[in-house]
């Protein structure tokens, strides 16, 4: 990994040199975009060197939101870290919960009851819907569409957040999953409401696609911009919609079949160009697949317990060992790596955040493009700084 990063960085330096050949230092403009900038999605900074409007060099600077997440995890009991995982990718707390629960369950060998598995799939796919809809909204907003697409996307997101609130008590910091199941069962009528929301979702997607998918300005701004090659995407460890937009068939739901994903019939949309437009469309198509999964899961969900009766909540001490639990979070592969020394808290608690790894290819995609493209490319990566900086 480290040698790989060095090669990309050297290649990027070479590209920068080519772009600045014959231009004196004084003609270049170095702009520090961020950490306070409307489009960096939080406290993220890009040190950009510009030749006119063209980006010749870009260095991402992260760490403004660092809050010792992993060290806190080592000093907390296993369960006490669960609410902290909500704050990683604060748009998708439920998938964070699941990845952490999966890691601990692998570590301690806990089974999850049938109903809880279905609940996890339903909440995770709803999370994917709300994350992707807000991301495409933000992306078009970053391209200057003054809020309209964003508000349309947020309207749908609100409906899902309302469902989360009535299920878990919180809209964004859900803290829903436990080792061996879920915290609370569905309230009365929740499933019907969820079915109604999901049934209305394709209409929103159709509307969105019709209004924007063929908009000439949007196509001109996104097609062929920030193309990420298949090889680089694989080498840099990029995951999620970004990787699939570059044409790599890799979806952990299909690869690992964690939980009960082998029971559902869904497909993995793949792009061929790996540009911003592909990433935008792949997300829309993924939402359509998520709706399929949700329809099946909400139809099939069996009655039963939601917690493994053998799972211990208090005095939980897994035997010494290590485990890596990973899931397909909306942003990519989210993994938790835990080492237990047999005590009540993990010896090592490591997070593999998808958006941090995806961010490493930002410079490769941006060099040679215009400054306005940089914003669109950054928006298409879909970062959340809570997860990047931890």
């Amino acid at each position: 990994m480290s040698s790989m990063t060095e090669t990309t960085s050297a290649a990027n330096d070479e590209r920068s040199r080519k772009l600045t050949a014959g231009i004196s230092e004084g003609q270049l403009l170095e702009v520090s975009m961020g950490p306070h900038h409307p489009s960096t999605h939080g406290v993220f900074r890009m040190d950009v060197v510009l030749d006119g409007e063209r980006v010749v060099k870009l260095k991402p600077v992260v760490g403004y939101l660092h809050r010792n997440h992993e060290k806190i995890g080592e000093n907390n009991s296993y369960l006490a870290s669960m609410p902290y995982t909500d704050r990683l990718d604060y748009l998708c707390s439920l998938t964070n919960n699941w990845a952490y629960a999966l890691a601990v369950e692998t570590l301690a060998g806990i089974d999850v009851p049938e109903r809880a598995q279905y609940l996890r799939v339903i909440t995770a796919e709803l999370t994917r819907l709300q994350n992707h809809s807000s991301v495409i909204g933000f992306l078009v907003q970053d391209m200057g569409a003054s809020g309209t697409p964003l508000m349309y996307a947020f309207r749908e997101r609100e409906k899902i957040l309302d469902l989360f609130e009535s299920l878990t008590g919180s809209r964004m910091m859900c803290n829903y999953m436990r080792f061996g199941g879920c915290r609370i069962d569905l309230p009365a009528g929740w499933l019907d409401r969820a079915k109604k929301v999901v049934a209305g979702f394709p209409q929103f997607l159709d509307e969105y696609e019709n209004l924007l998918g063929t908009n000439e300005i949007l196509m001109a701004r996104t097609q062929g911009i920030g193309a990420l090659s298949r090889e680089l995407a694989i080498n840099a460890g990029v995951t999620g919609p970004l990787l699939r937009a570059s044409g790599v068939n890799y979806d952990i739901r299909k690869v690992d079949k964690y939980g009960i994903y082998d029971r559902f019939d869904f497909k993995v949309p793949l792009g061929d160009n790996g540009d911003v437009y592909d990433r935008y469309m792949i997300r829309i198509l993924e939402m359509r697949e998520s709706i399929k999964i949700l329809d099946q899961a909400m139809c099939d969900i069996p009655p039963g317990p939601i917690m493994d009766p053998k799972a211990k909540i208090r005095g939980f001490r897994p035997k010494a060992g290590e485990a890596y639990g990973r899931i397909e979070a909306p942003k990519g592969e989210l993994g938790f790596y835990l080492i237990s020394d047999g005590s009540g808290n993990p010896y090592r608690y490591r997070v593999r955040p998808p958006s941090f790894v995806n961010l490493t290819v930002l410079e490769d995609m941006c060099i040679g493009n215009y400054i306005a493209d940089t914003i669109a490319i950054l928006g298409s990566i879909d970062i959340v700084l809570g997860e990047v900086d931890r």
Binding site: P38, A145, G213, A372
Partner: protein, 391 residues
């Protein structure tokens, strides 16, 4: 009676001027023309900001301001008080004099344009022979003040915004003026008042507006595209480019200086819309002959609001272009189209009236539109894509 209502402001002015000593008569007369403009258009600006925020709100399925006054219509007053009481921050290394002058010059330049806009029959502050020329001359002063703002702020975003603004405004000024030259050719005059008067006749019930000719329609569309770019409105709002350049050339402005930029943007939008109305849409003339009993100034402001609503609608709808796409559009599409349109206007002028004239001139507009459009999209390969699915 209709005549009196139509001319009520003119009559009032003459009556007032008649009461002052002869020595100060010219000054009072001028003041009575200027003061209403300076009062009325900022008031309209206040009305339009609330209209825009509520309109955008509706487009974006939210409410917009609805707390201050009934239905939020007093919002601009609250905004005004807020901007007036905000701290005036000048960057430490800024060129303080230029930093102060830029917004003042901008507002002054945009106000000057109103001098030649006939807002009603006999209602124009200065009936110049070279009215259109004057309008565009003072209009280009805004570029200077925008650059002053960007340069003096000593901020990289401001500088980038100013660079964009200069490039954009100068590029779009060319098709803007070329498309209005067609009207000048047809009317044979540069005076805004006589341009409107030539359009105020009727055939049957239909008016003689220049927009109802092939070249006039093409010119009008070109003019409005260029006007959107000139007034830095979406989708050509690159100089401000909020998601890229924070606020572009006025990043470093706060308090009332910021409000002045805001005012100038809307004043510019109104004045360029007013010019479009004057040139192509018959100024204060009624759209149908039996509607002439409605006072002329109401027609002018009605049309103005129609344009503003269009601007708001476009702002709520389209994403922003990129700088190179914007420039390509100006030089590779707008400019040739405007030049060909000049020829079309000439052909229209010298061909005998009849159906043949319509056919020839329509072809002269449509053919270059199609061909230039094809050429412009050449090699761009923008398409709706299909995606493959893996199991």
């Amino acid at each position: 009676m209709t005549e009196t209502i139509d001319q009520i402001f003119v009559i009032l002015k003459h009556w007032l001027v008649g009461h002052v000593p002869t020595a100060v008569e010219p000054i009072v007369s001028e003041l009575l023309s200027v003061v209403p403009i300076i009062l009325l258009f900022p008031l309209l600006f206040a009305l339009i900001t609330v209209m825009e925020r509520k309109g955008l709100g509706r487009i974006q399925n939210r409410y917009g301001p609805n707390r201050v006054g009934p239905c939020g219509i007093l919002q601009p007053i609250a905004d005004g008080i807020k901007t007036l009481t905000k701290e005036n921050i000048v960057p430490h290394s800024a060129d303080k004099v230029v930093h102060l002058l830029a917004p003042l010059l901008l507002v002054m330049a945009t106000f000057l344009g109103y001098a030649v806009l006939p807002v009603g029959r006999n209602m124009v502050a200065a009936n110049m022979d070279a009215g259109v020329l004057f309008f565009f001359a003072v209009g280009s002063m805004t570029e200077l003040s925008v650059f002053m703002a960007g340069w003096s702020s000593r901020n990289k975003y401001s500088l980038l915004g100013a660079m964009r603004a200069i490039a954009q405004m100068i590029s779009y000024e060319v098709p803007l003026i070329l498309s209005s030259v067609t009207v000048i050719m047809a009317a044979g005059t540069l005076s805004t008042v006589s341009i409107v008067e030539q359009q105020s006749g009727y055939t049957g019930i239909f008016p003689h507006w220049f927009v109802f000719t092939p070249w006039g329609f093409a010119g009008f569309v070109l003019f409005m595209i260029a006007a959107t770019a000139e007034s830095n409105r979406s989708p050509f709002d690159l100089p401000e480019g909020e998601s890229e350049l924070i606020a572009g050339y006025y990043t470093e402005y706060s308090g009332f200086k910021f409000a002045l930029f805001f005012l100038a943007e809307y004043l510019g939008m109104m004045s360029i819309s007013g010019m479009a109305i004057t040139l192509f849409l018959g100024g204060w003339a009624a759209p149908l002959s039996f509607l002439t009993w409605i006072p002329s100034y109401l027609w002018f402001f009605g049309k103005l609001f129609f344009f503003i609503a269009g601007f708001i609608w476009i702002r709520g709808t389209l994403p922003r272009l990129r700088m190179d796409q914007l420039m390509n559009f100006a030089w590779k599409f707008m400019l040739p189209m405007a030049l060909i349109n000049l020829v079309t206007a000439g052909v229209w002028r010298f061909m005998p009236t009849g159906i043949l004239r319509w056919l020839v001139c329509s072809a002269m507009v449509v053919a270059p539109y199609v061909l230039l459009g094809r050429g412009f999209m050449l090699g761009k390969r923008l398409e709706k894509r299909t995606y493959r699915f893996a199991d």
